[in-house]
Each structure stands twice: as C-alpha cells, then as structure tokens.
C-alpha cells in the first residue's frame, strides 16, 4: 500500500514538485500576512480605548490593513497560477501518453473505460496536485508561527491552541479512513449504474417495443434512489469529519475569547508573562486564533483529494500493467510496398495474448481466390489478422511482395490490401466519409455499384450524409456487409481479406454478397476469405482447411 503511494507520488508529484514548492512558499507568505493585519487592528483599537481617536491614527492602521490584504490577494493569485500550471502539465502528459498508446496496443478493457479514465478521471488529479501539497506546507509553518506568537503573549492561550490543535489530525485520521472506504464503494456503485444505463440506452428500441419502458424506468429510479441512500451515508461521515474540525476550532476560539475577556476584566490573574495582558494583545490573540485552525482544516479537506488522486493513479497503474495486443508496424501513412503482388506464409505462428495460432501455409498470387475453411474457434480470423499485420508472429514468417512482413514493411503492405471484418462497426461520421477512409475524394458510386450497395444508400434518408448507428442501426445485416465491401473496394489494392462475409445471413442475401465478391475478383484483385459457408468456399479457386 505504502509503496504504491510512494510510486503514485513519484509519478504525479515529483515532476511538478518545483512549481508546487514555489506555490507553497507563496501561500505560506500570504498566511504570514494575517498576523500583520491583526496587529494593525489591535494596535488601532487599543489606541481608541486610550483616547487616540484622531483620524491619522485610525487611517494609518487601516492603510496597513488594506495594503497587507492586497499583497495577500496577489500572492494567492500567483500561487494559484503555479498550481494550475502544475496540474495542467500533469494531466496533459498522462493524457497524451494514453492517446498514443491505447489504440496502438489495445488493452482490451473496453473503449468506454479508457475514455472515462482519460476525460473524466484524470482531472480528479487536479485537486490533489493543487490543494494537498500547499495545505501540507501551510500546516507545517503557519500553526507553529501563530502558536509561538500566542505563547509569547499568554501561555494559557498557547496551551489552549496546543491542546485543541493536535486533536484535529487524530479525529481526521479516524473519520477520514471510514470516509475513504465508503467513498471508494460509492465510486464503484456509480460506475456500475453508468454501465447499466448505457446498456439500457442501447437496447432502448427493444425495451420500448416490449412495453418495458415504464418498467425499465422504474427499475432505474429504484437504483438511483438506492444510490442516493448510499451516497448520503458516505456524506454523513464525510461531513462529520469536517464538523468535528469546525467544532474544535469553534471551541478553541470561544475559549480564547472568554479567557481574554475575563483576563482583561481582571478576574483571571494568571496566564501571561509578568505584566497583565493588554487590550491590544487580547484582540490580537482573538484575531489570530481562527487562523491557527484554518490550515489544519484545509489539510483535512485536501485529504479526500489525495485519496481520490491515489485512486486515479491506481487505475492508471492497472492500465499500464494490462496485457496488450500489439501490432506490426506503426499504423501510419506509408508508400505502398513496391514489387509484384505475392503472399506466402511459412510455418507462421501468430501470437495472441495468452494463445498461439499456427497458420496454414498459404501461397497467393495476383487475382487468386482462396478460402480458409474450418469450424468456429479454429483461428480463421487470426490468420487474416496476422496476414494484415494486426497480430505479431511468434515464429515462422510471412512474405509479402517478396519481402518479410515486419515493422518496416507492414504499413506499406497494408496500403496494398483491404480488410472486411466480421464485426459490423460504423464510425461516428457521415457514410460518405466512412466509405473513403483514405480521404481520396474519389466517387464512391462505382464501388457501391460493384458491391451491390447502390440501392441501400439511395434509400437512406440523407444518402451519403447519413450517420449510421454504431453497429449499423438503420440498415440490415446483409446491407451492412455490402457497405463494408464497398468500402474495401474504395480502398483499392491487390488483395481483399474478408472475414465470414456471409455469416448470419440467409441464402438469398448471402448469394448477393458472394456475387459481389466474385465481381470484385473479376477486376483482378486477389481474395482471401475465412468462412464456414460451403457456398462461398465453392466459388473460390482453392480451399485450405483448419481444424479446431
């Protein structure tokens, strides 16, 4: 636990410790100005009582008070700028690292979880960075200075503060631990409620058609109410901790006020050093007593921020440690690989996270059509992925256009192939842009015609400007496949890899897909399909079987 916190500090705090220290120094300096302001008031009022009521006396004190207040505001402002800079730099750094990593080597924890970490949780580091360390520095200086000032005037006041002060961290620790645990539980609860809501929203059409809208809504309301009850349980504890702190500071300040009052009346004759307490000293003590407690209360508020910060870092660490599926090459724009088209796999073994798949030996020349057949789970999809460089090899080799498929050639190789995945996914963009992933600006209608998808686009309410649902809401399964095929045609290249292009389709729809693939092949492109559909396999030149 403590080593984890150590690492969290090293990762988040150490890189910005310079700014944090500078901001802390400014904040301490600002805090030290309050005794100056208090002294100006105390001096003026004690003068009033002794009859010095002329304007110059009052004006002088007011000016000192005002000036110190202005300087205090400026110092706090400057400290805030440094703190914001530190937090911003940290969030920018962590965010950039994740943006550059999560698509290149995906961790398989779900895109929504990664996005929520990047967008929602990373900013939770900010309160920790901006509040905790400054609060810590102020706590280590200001109460001691104010305590010393109090002791120098009255040992009873000093003692009162000394007793009340240290009790605060003790209670804070006790209450804080309970609050930390409770707030962690609540975070989990909110997370699962969000998951539930997302799931219900994506099934909303079905929920409505089943007449279940009201039931689903009521169910959701019940869960929201349960969440409120749990949250209130957390808040009762969390607020209790700050109330205890307030209580101590209130009692401390009230005791100081009453003691000073009685002393000034002469009813208490002890507590000061030699000469009795004067009015000015009494007022000064009253004014600085609340500021003795303030840094302690700030620190306790920041305590929760630190806990939240640690929780975020734990999430970041977990993501760092996650097993990742890597790829070959960089996924960046490259010149098409030179050379005549050819593909050959030799004793290649694809390395999936936790599993290896042996590829059948395949040879493919220009215009060839090959089907990889076999039952579900045999690894047909992995074969296509390995050939596209989406999965690295553990052994053997894949030769493409005469050179080995590797980090130097993968991006250029991918320029020469197109891939039709089995899973339907439409990015959140107009259909026209989606059909033209390389942004060539070419006319999509020829490709749509070739893939038998012209009529589909004609029928969409906004044609090529339509944004389809993520899994193709708005078109049928067969139509989505034909659109994906049109996209592969638009990409161009010498080889189309198609993963189960007829899965889950009826014979008539499948026949249209097969016919479209056949037309594409007629244009001189090689085709490699993974399928368990005998009708599709039959129209290919050759078949390679894989077993489970």
């Amino acid at each position: 636990m403590s080593s984890q916190r150590q690492r969290a500090r090293q990762r988040i705090i150490l890189p910005v410790s310079g700014d944090l220290k500078a901001a802390g120094r400014l904040a301490v300096l600002a805090g030290l100005l309050w005794p100056v302001q208090a002294a100006a008031i105390a001096w003026a009022v004690s003068g009033w009582v002794e009859g010095e009521v002329e304007p110059a006396h009052t004006l002088g004190a007011a000016l000192a008070f005002l000036l110190a207040g202005l300087v205090r505001a400026i110092l706090d402002h400057r400290a805030g700028a440094l703190l914001f800079r530190a937090a911003d730099a940290t969030i920018a750094r962590e965010r950039a690292a994740m943006i550059r990593r999560e698509a290149r080597a995906t961790a398989g924890i779900g895109s929504a979880a990664v996005a929520s970490l990047v967008v929602q949780k990373l900013p939770l580091l900010q309160p920790w960075i901006t509040r905790y360390h400054v609060a810590m520095m102020r706590v280590s200086v200001l109460p001691l200075v104010l305590l010393a000032l109090s002791f120098s005037l009255s040992w009873v006041v000093g003692l009162t503060l000394l007793v009340a002060g240290p009790l605060i961290p003790v209670f804070m620790a006790l209450v804080g631990m309970a609050a930390e645990e409770a707030s962690r539980r609540q975070m989990d609860e909110i997370g699962s409620m969000n998951d539930m809501l997302m799931d219900r929203l994506s099934a909303l059409t079905d929920i409505r058609l089943l007449g279940a809208s009201e039931r689903a809504t009521v169910d959701f309301a019940v869960r929201a109410e349960a969440l409120r009850v749990r949250t209130m349980a957390v808040l009762r504890i969390a607020f209790l901790s700050s109330t205890v702190l307030e209580l101590f500071s209130a009692i401390g300040v009230a005791l100081v006020a009453v003691f000073v009052g009685f002393t000034l009346l002469g009813e208490i004759g002890f507590g000061s050093w030699g000469s009795p307490l004067t009015l000015g000293e009494g007022l000064f003590l009253l004014l600085i007593a609340p500021e003795f407690f303030q840094p302690l209360r700030d620190l306790s508020a920041a305590w929760h921020d630190r806990a939240a910060g640690y929780a975020v870092v734990a999430d970041l660490d977990a993501l760092d440690a996650a097993e990742r599926a890597s790829m070959v090459g960089s996924g960046e724009e490259a010149e098409p690989l030179a050379g005549a088209f050819s593909l050959r796999t030799e004793a290649a073994v694809a390395a999936l996270p936790g599993r290896e798949v042996t590829l059948p030996d395949i040879v493919l020349g220009p215009g060839d059509a090959l089907a990889i057949i076999g039952p579900s789970g045999a690894g047909k999809t992995t074969v296509l992925a390995a050939i596209a460089g989406l999965v690295p090899l553990a052994a053997g080799r894949i030769s493409v256009c005469g050179s080995a498929l590797g980090s130097g050639t993968a991006d250029g190789w991918r320029r020469r192939i197109a891939f039709v995945p089995q899973r339907v996914h439409f990015a959140d963009m107009p259909l026209g842009d989606w059909l033209d992933p390389r942004g060539t600006g070419a006319d999509p209608w020829a490709a749509l015609r070739l893939a038998d998808a012209e009529g589909i686009v004609d029928r969409l309410p906004e044609g090529l400007a339509t944004r389809l649902g993520e899994t193709g809401g708005g078109v049928s399964g067969g139509e989505a496949r034909r659109l994906m095929l049109a996209r592969a045609v638009m990409e161009g290249g010498d080889l189309i890899l198609a993963d189960e292009p007829t899965a889950d389709l009826d014979t008539e729809t499948a026949t249209r897909i097969i016919a479209a693939l056949d037309r594409v092949r007629g244009e001189g492109r090689a085709i490699l399909v993974a399928t368990h559909d005998p009708a599709l396999a039959a129209v290919m030149d050759r078949q390679v079987a894989m077993s489970a």
């Binding site: 004006l59 969030i91 996005a115 809504t217 409120r228 009762r236």
Partner: protein, 533 residues
Amino acid sequence: MSQVLRIVRRLVGAAPWAMARGAALSVVVLVMGAALLGLSGWFITATGIAGLAGVGIAFDVFRPSAGVRFLALGRTAARYGERLLTHDAILRALAALRVAILRRQAGLDAWALARLRGEAVLTRMISDVDALDGLVLRVLLPSAAALLTHSVVFAVLVWLAGLPVALAIAGLYLPAAVLVLWALARRTQGPSDAAEQGAQHLRRGLIDMIRDREALILTGRLDVRERDLMGLDAAVRAETTGLDRIERSAGALLSVIATLAATGAFLAGGWMLAEGRVDPATAVIGLFVALALAETILPLRRGFADLGRISGAARRVGPAIADLSIVERPPLNNAPVLRITRPDLSLTLAPGEALALTGPSGAGKSTLLLAIAGLLPADGITIGGRPPDAWSEASFRTRVALLPQRSALIAGTIRENLCLAGGFSDAEFWASLEAAQLAGTIRARGGLDERLGEGGHGLSGGQARRLALARCLLRRPDLLVLDEPTEGLDDATAAALLGSIRRYLPRAAILVALHRGADHPVFDRICRLDGLR
C-alpha cells in the same frame, strides 16, 4: 434562459421542503458566523475598557460569554445540518432528472432510437446532469443565502453600530461582489461551455479510435487520428487555462472586496468614535462583522465560473424532460386487428391469420413494420380500428409486438433478458424458448442463468435474434410483427421456427416480412410490397 428556469423549477420542485430547510440553515450559519465575530470583538474591547476603568466587577460577563459559546457550537451544528439537507435535496432532484430523461429518450421515434449511440448519449447525459447539481448547490442557494444574510446584518448593524458602519459594509460588499460575479459569469460563459463540449468530443473520439483501431491501422490513419485527438486536447486545455485565469482573477478581486469592506467598516467605526457618537467597543463591531461576511461571497466564485457549462447542460437537458402525454381511449372490439389502406398496399388481418410480406430489399418493408409498431408516422394504418398513435403506449404494447431487424440484448443472464418482457415463470420462459427453436442451445449452455456479456456477447448472431424473438413471444400479443425472423437460418430450421411460432400463438394475427419461405403452410396469404418507385 427559459430552459435554465425550467430546470431550476424541476430541481427545486423535486424536494422543495428539503431545499427550503437547507436554504434557511445556510442563512442561519452565515448570520451566526457574523454574530460570533461581532460579539467576540465587542466583548473583548468592552472588557478591556471596563478593566482599564476598574469597574470589572460590575461588568456582566456571563451573558456575552455564554452567547459566544452558544454561537460557536450552534453554528457548527447548523453547518452540518445545512450540508446534509442541501445535498440530500439535490440528490433527490438529480435522480428525478435522470429518470425524466430516460423516460423521454424511450419515447423517441425509430430513426432517433437507431441513431442513439450509447456512449455518446450516456456520457453527455451524465456530465450534463452532474453539471446541473452546481446550479442549485453552488449558485442559487449560496447567492440567496448571501443576499438574505446581508439584509439581516444590515438591519442589525443599523440598530447596533449605526447607519454609517452598516452602509460602509453593505455599500462596499454588495455592488462590488455583484459586479465581479456578473463579469465572471459573462466572461466564462463561452469558454466554459466550449471546454465541456470539447471534453465530450475528446471522449467520443477516443472511443471511436479504439473501436475502429483495426480499420485505422489498415488504412494507415492511426497517427492522423492521434494527432486530431491531441489537437482536441490542446484546445480543451487552452479553454480551461483561460477559464482558470479569469476565475482566479475574480477570486482575487472578491478577496480584495472583503478587505476593502473590512477597512471601510473600520474607518466608519473610527469616524463615529471620533465624532463621539459611539464607544470603542461598539466601533469595532462593524470591522469584525465585515471580516466574517467574507464567507458569504468567496465560495460563490466556483459556481458562477461554471454557469456557462451549467446553462449549456440545461439547454440540452431541458427539451429532454418535456412531458409526453398520450390519451387513453377504450378499446374497439369488432374491428380487424390490422388494416392497412395505402396506395401501394391494402390489407386486413383478423385474429388467427398469418400473412407473409415479401418484396425486394428497399421496398419499405421494415419501414412499414416500424410504422405498424408505432415507431414511425403511420398513415393509413389502424390497429383494432384506430391509428397506433391513438393508443396509450402501455395498452398498445400489450397488443402489438415487433421483432425489429436489429434487436439488442442487455448484459446479464438469459433470464434477465427475457424478463424485459415482464414477469413470467420458468416454465413459460422455456415454452417461449422452445417456440423460438432455442431451448436446446440454452440448455446446453447452462440454462436460464447463463450470463451474457454487454450487448448479448456470447451468443451467435442467429441465436441472439431468436432470444429476442422468444422475448417477443412471451408478451402473447394480439398482433405479432416479425422482420426477417429466419434471416441467417438454414431452410429446415426456418420452416420449423415458423411452425412453432404459429403453434405457440394460435389466436394471434401474425405478419412476417421475409425474403424466402413465404410459401410455408402457416401463411394464409402472401402480400407483395414493390415500393413506390
């Protein structure tokens, strides 16, 4: 602005009493804070004067010192109550808001539902609702409490310390604070909304990039997309940096205002003292009260800086909670279950009849079925004698069930998925699975309590579809409308499925859109839809 007011009404209306008690306690806390410091300052100065004059014995120390203790403890207790009450009230209000939004979303038409992109809608909704809690908790309540407190304090100070002191405090605090907060809200309005929108774009972009990863790698666009997202992040952070600068400056100004007000009260007290109108103990009251009143304005800065984000959220959420009202009417019993009279199609369907609807892709079969199910405008269609939109949603759904072309399952067990149709016994669940030709598969996979992943992950496409079909059948509707129920099945299974559906619902009118198998004996008639082209 009207949307903001509407949200305020709804938020406050969800728990008006808890809200009012919380607001009252806020004022109590602030007033007690001011009274505590004022009384303490007066007490010490007065005891100092009494001590100097040697009349300490005659001075009544007990009432003021008891007052100091009472105010100190009472204020702490009131603060605790205030926090609990306002948070409880706002949580109630926010839960009510979420439910209202979900209910409204469920009433959208078919096209809007199909375009609902889970994450985007959800995260938008969540962050909007989160933003709205600040409206009451950080803007409305504290502003109202601050104004009330200043009014109370002004009245009391006029009576206790004299008009000049009261005027110095109110005159310096109120106009300046209002001006600073107004300027803060105005200047942050745009950037705060823009930063929020940018963050949502960033989130959506990231989700799309990860989901679309393979396509991006294959087309060599991964770095381009990464650069886009980095640019988006830079833009968002530029907005937040600007926001922070404006907000910090406002904070510094508010703290200067507090210092100025304290100085003003001090000078006013000193002037009245020099005029001989008050004694020194009374003259310090204003100063101490002014110091305490700083806590009425300093906490307002956060809420006002967020107003842009809040009103953006209110603008989006506002229309999403407008109430839908559908008038219920008594059923008509003698009309056919379904009658369609349109230029391209005319048919009636009686209980126990089954009709196959064929036609080329794109002829509008799915659109027709969605219209029959009341998800799209339905000209020329009557169900039981009246148009779909003349039924109440609840009674319509018990009569008509549609299996749409794309069905969605929820994460959870097979049983939980079936339970969306309502509460049924295990025997009824199995009977419907049997009718959907899925019982064998489910039994082999571990029965009703087998868990499915998000979106029904774990079943093949055909199996997931037949589970959705079983869910429809459970409702035992008067009119069962199926869109391509046999897509993806071999001919033998498809034929068996149609037969078992008929046996399961012998009295229902059944309308099936399909490409092949329209010659199946369950169908009494075949109707062809050729489209309007």
